[in-house]
């Protein structure tokens, strides 16, 4: 029995390794704010949200599958949250009997497993009840399959069969074990057997039935009794194992259900928070991997929207057919925010989530990577360039064609000429290899070089200076300009009476 709510044909892997660049993505794209909104303070939901956001689905069909399950959840939030609670209860059931487990003793494993199995049978009854009552209202392929499966597999007959086994495991006629002669003549191949049906009175007379030799171990012979109980343990070991593993499987079923529903509960939490702010969201339209579509209306930074009090205005981008999106212009003009929203939207789309925009259409990518200027260790300029190069070298070892690389002020730690030359060579090699690059820079030498050599595969956006107090930004298309606004910013912060420190 599989939940299959995350993938049409396979399990969600909640403990799969996150992509190696996950720490950079989390920091550079402000994912913590997004994940915290999904988790709503619950550690488990946080973990599922994090795993989910890094799904990296590349197939439009798989993305749509999740979008539909999510749409059902938005329609029936109470039922979905109720199912999640039931799964949580299922996962926790073993804690109710765990205290009785004595390690390595098949007897106690058998006893514990029977107790636990009784709890599971009860929870499964409730689950089957939800399926019968609410199943017909759901529309998505994922939920429809899930509820049909519950109704089919968990029939009344099946519940009766499980209970019969639990009754038989009391061994009223003794523990019957078969064996053969193993190494050194020791018994081996112990198998627990069902007693044959009782014959009539004739069987019990001497000389009838099978020949049997009986001995007894004295009641006071503790060592002998211990040996006997060890033999019993060997006999029931396989059956105890089978029942305990069945418990594990059922536990595994509930765990999977909790993980998969946990992702959607996180989505519901996020949905509630964003829509409460009156911000728009949309189900994105994914195109297949390897394409070069990227178009959005009203694309905004979801983490920023969750953080500030007011509303956030988004940007429109028409970058279909572009391998390079280069963003230049004024400091604090929304360049970083825009770059973040690009990465967030790409990740959210490829997780099956809605996107923080009025509309969003993009090709899926083979992986999102970020290379941001690191503010720390400003002391050693030489060391900083080394550090940047080293990080870039790691990224180029991981990124594949169809990938998306977001650079924020990369190679600004050396002089402009050097930094530009390094960056130009990297951008050229990456874009030629089919990797999309979003690059925020104030290296004019770099931006100007890319602009003059543009063969139509590059888009140039330029941040504008804004009136004081304005917090939302627009990034229109525009060629790079030779001066950044650092000087202005300086004067703005220090006041016009100060001479600027740099020319």
């Amino acid at each position: 029995m599989k939940a299959f709510l995350m993938f049409p044909d396979r399990d969600f892997e909640p403990s799969r390794d996150l992509p190696p660049q996950e720490p950079e993505l989390a920091a550079d794209l402000e994912l913590d704010t997004l994940l915290a909104a999904m988790a709503g303070g619950d550690e488990f939901l946080h973990a599922m949200a994090r795993q989910g956001i890094h799904s990296g689905l590349t197939s439009p069909a798989e993305i749509t599958y999740r979008q539909h399950v999510l749409a059902d959840s938005v329609t029936w939030p109470g039922v979905v949250r109720g199912l999640y609670d039931l799964a949580v209860e299922g996962v926790g059931a073993q804690r109710q009997v765990f205290g009785f487990l004595f390690r390595d003793s098949p007897d106690s494993i058998l006893w514990r497993s029977q107790e636990l199995m009784r709890l599971y049978v009860e929870l499964l009854r409730r689950l089957a009840g939800v399926a019968r009552e609410h199943g017909p209202g759901f529309r998505s392929a994922g939920f429809t399959r899930f509820f049909t499966m519950l109704t089919d597999e968990l029939s009344d007959d099946y519940f009766a069969e499980m209970e019969a086994h639990l009754a038989d495991l009391r061994f009223r006629r003794g523990t019957l074990i078969s064996a053969r002669l193993g190494t050194g003549g020791k018994g081996t191949g112990y198998v627990l057997r069902r007693h044959p049906p009782r014959g009539g009175w004739r069987d019990r007379l001497p000389g009838h039935g099978r020949s049997a030799y009986t001995f007894t171990v004295a009641e006071r012979d503790e060592a002998g009794l211990r040996k006997l109980s060890e033999l019993t343990s060997r006999g029931v070991s396989e059956t105890a194992n089978a029942l305990a593993q069945s418990c594990d499987h059922i536990q595994g079923f509930f765990a999977m259900l909790r993980a998969e529903l946990g992702f959607y509960v996180g989505c519901l939490n996020l949905w509630d928070k964003i829509t409460a702010k009156g911000q728009p969201v949309c189900y994105p339209v994914p195109s297949p991997l390897g394409g070069d579509r990227f178009a959005a209306r009203g694309l905004y930074d979801v983490s920023l929207a969750l953080t500030i009090d007011g509303k956030v205005t988004g940007n429109d981008v028409a970058a279909d057919g572009k391998q390079l999106i280069m963003i230049t212009g004024a400091n604090q003009g929304g360049k970083s925010t825009f770059l973040r929203s690009m990465g967030q939207a790409q990740l959210m789309m490829q997780a099956g989530l809605f996107v923080a925009a009025e509309s969003f259409e993009a090709s899926t990518c083979s992986g999102v990577f970020t290379h941001y200027k690191r503010e720390e260790d400003a002391a050693m300029e030489k060391g900083k360039l080394d550090e940047e190069l080293e990080r870039m070298s790691v990224i180029t070892g991981q990124i594949a064609p169809g990938g998306l690389l977001l650079c924020n002020e990369s190679f600004a730690s050396t002089n402009e000429r050097e930094g530009s030359e390094i960056a130009r060579q990297i951008i050229r090699a990456l874009t030629e290899a089919g990797i999309r690059v979003g690059y925020v820079t104030h290296l004019y030498d770099l931006a100007e070089g890319c602009y003059t050599q543009n063969t139509g595969k590059a888009l140039f956006l330029r941040a504008q200076r804004l009136a004081a107090g304005q917090r939302t930004f627009r990034l229109p298309e525009g060629e790079p300009l030779p001066t950044s606004y650092g000087e202005d910013l300086y004067q703005q912060i220090f006041g016009p009476q100060h001479e600027p420190a740099h020319g």
């Binding site: 098949p106 053969r180 050194g184 033999l231 396989e238 105890a240 069945s246 499987h249 870039m392």
Partner: protein, 497 residues
């Protein structure tokens, strides 16, 4: 082969022969092979006798037969030891039966394979004849038949034990249904992936406890003929192990151990050869020779093994090795010493081709790292050891010297080195002399200068090649700065890969 208990020669550790032989004999303690590696041969005929055995055992069929035989014999010895240790009669007899079965199978398999193998070595041919006679004997046939009959009867025994409280009832097994299979079937629909194993972890002592013994007694009552047959077998075949086969089992391990040891190195592309050996001719030569102990360390990690050539002709006797630190000089010296010692054991040597001398003794004079405290003390110690060596060495000895007298000034080292070289030359022995003193390389016509080389395009890179040319005291440039592989052409290549 005969083996006493000789002590480890003093040059073993300097030439890394101690670690080499302990790696070769690793896992074969029960054969006590160490003595075999401590007794060198001094005649070409004795070396050639072993070469022939090695050659025969290198044929895949013979090698496989001997390996299988050895494994089975080990198993058999373990079973016999177990039978001796136990006290319950039926248990002793069970283990004894297993040992006899293993013995019989190993001996017949070996006889069968060796018969179909084209042997050339006189030593192996004689053993094969013995084996043919032994396996064709009536006693061996009787052993075979008895094992088969008793074993198959025991394997067919099936019984049931019913435990209810302290009452134990033993019956024959009559197809009662498997309980756990039914449980598995019911819950199969939840099965998914790997699960934890909850089966009890039972310690399987070889001994039965007395409850098991009582159960076995009841099983014996249920199957009286089967257990009676076991009793008879033990009484009839008590002394099945043959002495000649016992001796073969041990001695062949000398060859197998060495061949097994070099097999992975050969797979890695390293070459071995049977050297031409002589106890008279000192015109030695080798092509593509390498340090076997070092190769054993490098090859598993994919490291490259540097191979070097050497040759002495006419009155040349001594290699004087100079060149950069960590440039492979010591390795070269060890290699030359190892090659000669391995040749004198009758083993294939690590070289593509070799012509080697069988020395009467081998000496090593290596710098002692531990005595760094007082320079004078160290030099004095070295000189004492040097004198001792020169007193004992003859014209047929091999002397390997590594950075001797490096603890003193250049002037002193040159002075002492020249004197020592002159004595070595006067003796006419074979020598390898690793030194930082370039002048020693051209001391006399007996000396051949060998130099560690560097890559001319990149002086920081050592090639570890030691070649015959005049000493030149080459220095190195600084290491080249590390690149990050991020230029356009490099990236194009990396991303295309």
């Amino acid at each position: 082969m005969q083996a006493g208990e000789p002590a480890e020669p003093s040059f073993f550790s300097d030439l890394n022969l101690d670690q080499l032989f302990s790696a070769i004999t690793e896992g074969r303690d029960e054969y006590d092979l160490v003595p075999f590696f401590r007794i060198p041969l001094h005649s070409a005929a004795a070396v050639s006798y072993r070469h022939e055995v090695f050659r025969d055992l290198q044929a895949p069929a013979a090698a496989a037969a001997v390996t299988t035989f050895a494994e089975q014999m080990r198993t058999m010895r373990r079973y016999l030891a177990q039978a001796r240790k136990l006290r319950y009669r039926y248990q002793k007899e069970f283990w004894f039966l297993d040992a006899a079965r293993e013995y019989r199978e190993s001996v017949s398999a070996l006889a069968a394979t060796l018969t179909g193998t084209g042997l050339q070595a006189p030593g192996l041919i004689a053993f094969r004849e013995y084996l043919t006679g032994y396996t064709g004997s009536a006693a061996f046939a009787a052993l075979t038949a008895d094992i088969e009959r008793v074993s198959s009867a025991l394997a067919a025994v099936r019984y049931c034990v019913n435990i209810k409280g302290n009452r134990v009832t033993v019956t024959r097994y009559t197809d009662e249904a498997d309980f756990s299979a039914e449980v598995v079937a019911t819950f199969a629909k939840f099965a998914s992936g790997a699960v934890k194993d909850y089966r009890g972890k039972f310690r399987n002592w070889p001994e039965m406890d007395y409850v098991e013994e009582r159960i076995t007694n009841q099983v014996a009552r249920l199957f009286p003929d089967v257990f009676g047959g076991l009793d008879e077998f033990a009484a009839k075949h008590a002394g099945f192990f043959d002495d000649t086969i016992h001796a073969f089992d041990r001695e062949v391990q000398f060859y197998v151990a060495y061949l097994d040891f070099i097999a992975p190195l050969k797979s890695a592309g390293l070459e071995f050869c049977y050297p031409r050996v002589s106890a008279e001719d000192k015109e030695i030569a080798a092509e593509a020779a390498f340090d076997l102990a070092l190769a054993h360390k490098l090859v598993p990690d994919g490291g490259a093994v540097v191979r070097n050539d050497f040759r002495l002709s006419g009155s040349e006797r001594i290699f004087v090795v100079t060149g950069p630190n960590h440039g492979g000089k010591t390795t070269f010296a060890r290699m030359a010493g190892q090659l000669h010692y391995l040749a004198s054991l009758g083993c294939p040597v690590p070289a593509r081709e070799a012509r080697l001398f069988l020395p009467d003794q081998i000496f090593a004079h290596f710098e002692r790292e531990e005595d760094l405290a007082t320079l004078r003390g160290k030099l004095a110690d070295e000189l004492v050891r040097m004198k001792d060596v020169l007193d004992r060495a003859t014209s047929d000895s091999l002397l390997v010297m590594n950075e001797s007298f490096a603890s003193t000034t250049l002037r002193d080292a040159r002075f002492i080195g020249e004197r020592v070289l002159d004595q070595m030359t006067a003796l006419g022995l074979l020598g390898v002399y690793v030194t930082f003193v370039d002048e020693l390389a051209s001391r006399s016509g007996a000396c051949v200068s060998m130099v560690g080389t560097v890559n001319p395009d990149n002086p920081a890179e050592r090639t570890f090649q030691i070649v015959r040319k005049p000493a030149d005291g080459l220095a190195y440039a600084v290491a080249i700065a590390r690149k990050y592989g991020l230029t356009y052409p490099q990236l194009k290549e990396r991303l295309a890969a």
